[in-house]
């Protein structure tokens, strides 16, 4: 019942907004639908905590500690982003960057995007997971090109082509997985159900599964933004509307990584050696290092934080690749804090670029002078994402580093170097933007800064004290995937 609500509310919202998305009250309906999804997700979480894992709709969807945690996070960030998008998109309309037809497209696709992400998370059928993931690409591609500028069209085309090709590789991986599963489970729908696959994972053919994992990792890894498959990510983040950058960075990348981790659990069961873990650690480490060195060369503020997302996704991929309860716990925690912090940063960046009229970092100056909340929001968010204590990102990165030192000492210097380079690059660029003399204009619609500080407060709280029920929850999920 709760599952049907979680999926039904955004779908209904998409339909309503497809008809009325250009009206003046559409942003409120958008936020309301996201609030409904959040409430449904909270009910679902309560139900899972009370009753444990469950399946529904003829076993096509399922909930366990791992995905319910991501469902709650996705619904929450989708709601706060909808709150942020209200004044943001009104200002964009005021600046004549979007017209009413495009606003209708925007609102309807926003809800459809939430729906496809939640469907990806909840789907028990590995094939449907693929379909929903491709649906998430399809629903965002026209949003990336919403402004119809040459640069945004180029970014959207790149996003579409690269992600479609990448995800086609994942479909081949899924076919190979089905091929291996069919021998054990027999033909028919059951052989693609994750819960059934998980039961028989020890009997699946190892050669086929290792090949399948390579294709799945390359396919879903393209959407995670792993180097060298990351080319679409900075462009799509920089050229689309900022609320979309926030949900792409904060949510879609997590959902794609979730698909990779789900595949890893199956492959690890079938293989003796740690084949999948090694691959993920390699890709993760490469992404961290390459992204860190690209950071210092960026001029566009949204591009810079997009590269920072690649870096953090690399850290998570590395953590899940190491495996074990501590690393998996840290990976899940990092997923949470990164998605909260990065979306908060994009909220402030969105308002800052609107106030300054540019995304060029050299032209953004003195944000604190013009609006203390925007300035401090960006400064604190940046400190949090760079892993300064006492924010939660520090906790998770510390856990990942200490585990790496114990288990894979060779990787630690690379990680430390990359974190240091990233710190120098981002801090050096954000500091002059926040302080100094300003040229920024006052915004026509009062900015929505409550979401920013709510996110940062949660991240701060997670750094100081993780509530026991949350620890239990992470532990259960970590035991499941570790």
């Amino acid at each position: 019942m709760e599952i049907a609500l979680v999926l039904g509310v955004p779908l209904a919202g998409a339909m309503v907004l497809a008809a009325f998305g250009q009206r003046s009250w559409a942003p409120e309906v958008n936020a309301l639908a996201s609030l409904g999804t959040l409430i449904a997700a909270a009910l679902l979480t309560g139900r899972v905590i009370a009753d444990g894992p469950m399946t529904a709709l003829n076993e096509q969807v399922f909930v366990d500690p791992f995905n319910v945690f991501l469902v709650a996070l996705t619904a929450f960030v989708a709601f706060t982003t909808a709150l942020f998008s209200r004044p943001y998109m009104r200002t964009e309309e005021h600046h004549k960057r979007v017209n009413s037809a495009r606003l209708r497209l925007y609102h309807s696709m926003y809800q459809l995007f939430s729906f496809t992400m939640l469907l990806t998370l909840l789907s028990n059928n590995v094939g449907m997971l693929w379909v929903a993931m491709e649906g998430a690409t399809l629903s965002t591609v026209l949003l990336v090109s919403l402004y119809r500028t040459p640069a945004s069209l180029e970014a959207a085309w790149k996003y579409f082509i690269l992600c479609s090709v990448g995800i086609a590789q994942a479909l081949f991986g899924t076919i190979l997985l089905y091929f291996a599963a069919e021998k054990v489970l027999g033909p028919g729908g059951n052989a693609l159900l994750w819960t059934h696959l998980h039961e028989v994972r020890g009997e699946l053919e190892p050669t086929v599964l290792s090949l399948a994992f390579v294709f799945l990792l390359v396919g879903y890894g393209t959407k995670v933004g792993l180097v060298p498959l990351h080319n679409w990510l900075p462009d799509a983040h920089a050229e689309g509307p900022t609320p979309i950058s926030a949900v792409l960075s904060g949510l879609l990348l997590n959902v794609a990584l979730y698909a990779v981790v789900r595949s890893k659990v199956l492959v690890d069961g079938a293989l003796e050696r740690n084949f999948s873990g090694g691959l993920m650690m390699g890709f993760g480490l490469l992404s961290v290092v390459v992204a860190a060195f690209f950071l210092s060369r960026q001029k566009d503020i949204k591009r810079m934080f997009a590269y920072s997302s690649i870096e953090h996704m690399g850290i998570m991929t590395f953590a899940f690749g190491m495996g074990g309860p501590v690393a998996a716990f840290a990976g899940l925690l990092h997923m949470t804090v990164h998605s909260l912090t990065k979306s908060a940063i994009f909220f402030t960046v969105g308002h800052a670029t609107q106030a300054s009229g540019t995304q060029d970092m050299a032209s953004i100056r003195g944000l604190i002078q013009q609006s203390p909340t925007i300035g401090w929001g960006l400064a604190l968010g940046t400190l949090a994402i760079l892993g300064m204590p006492p924010f939660g990102v520090f906790t998770s990165e510390f856990m990942i580093l200490t585990t790496a030192m114990r288990q894979h000492a060779w990787a630690t210097p690379f990680l430390l170097l990359a974190l240091g380079v990233a710190f120098a690059a981002i801090f050096g660029k954000v500091q002059p933007m926040v302080f100094g003399e300003t040229t920024a204009q006052r915004l026509t619609h009062p900015p929505a800064l409550v979401p920013v500080f709510v996110h940062l407060a949660i991240v701060l709280l997670l750094g100081l004290y993780i509530p026991p029920y949350l620890v239990d929850w992470y532990r259960q999920a970590a035991a499941f995937i570790g």
């Binding site: 094939g127 379909v131 579409f160 086609a168 076919i175």
Partner: protein
Amino acid sequence: MALSLSSQIVNLLAALLLLLAFAMLAQRRVLTLIKLFAWQGAALALSTAIVAHATGQTHLYFSAGLTLALKVILIPWLLHRLIDQLNVRWDIEMLINIPTTMLTGIGVAIFAFSLAAPISQMASTVTRSTLGIALASVLLSFLMMIVRRKAVPQVIGFLSMENGLFFAATSATYGMPLVVELGVALDVLVGTFIFGIFFFHIREQFDSLDIRHMEKLKED
């Protein structure tokens, strides 16, 4: 006996599929490319129907019908309308180096066969020997997307990659569960529509469908 005859026909169609993939790789004219794509879809639909007949898997008939409706009729028709409206019907792409591309393609096909060899030995289906061909046509379409500089041929490359994937699904496993095939087909259809919308936006902005104009977003 029926089984061996049908498996021979499927092998023949598989060879045809691979040949068409090579032909598309070398084809410069947009119009001919769409025709080749439709033929590839027809070969795929026919081979799916024959596998369905030989094995009695009724849901494969449905899959064959879906391929016929979508890949042989609807999508080529849409593409024809698009190239008419965009006035690129007689476009010829000048910049591809055909001999090098073909040689690379042969290398790709050999790689695909050697990759698929250990897996096809494990398959119990009548069509197992064709898994290598399926993988080869997927990778050849991938190659085609890399070497093409115009938007329409790139999209045809993407669609033909989907053909190869469907062929892999029938040849290795007698097809995916129906709900998944329907979902994939829906994604492909919606994707084609969005590509169509994109063509117009790109034309409006750049006055051309040449994606060399769209290489401005680079790291400097």
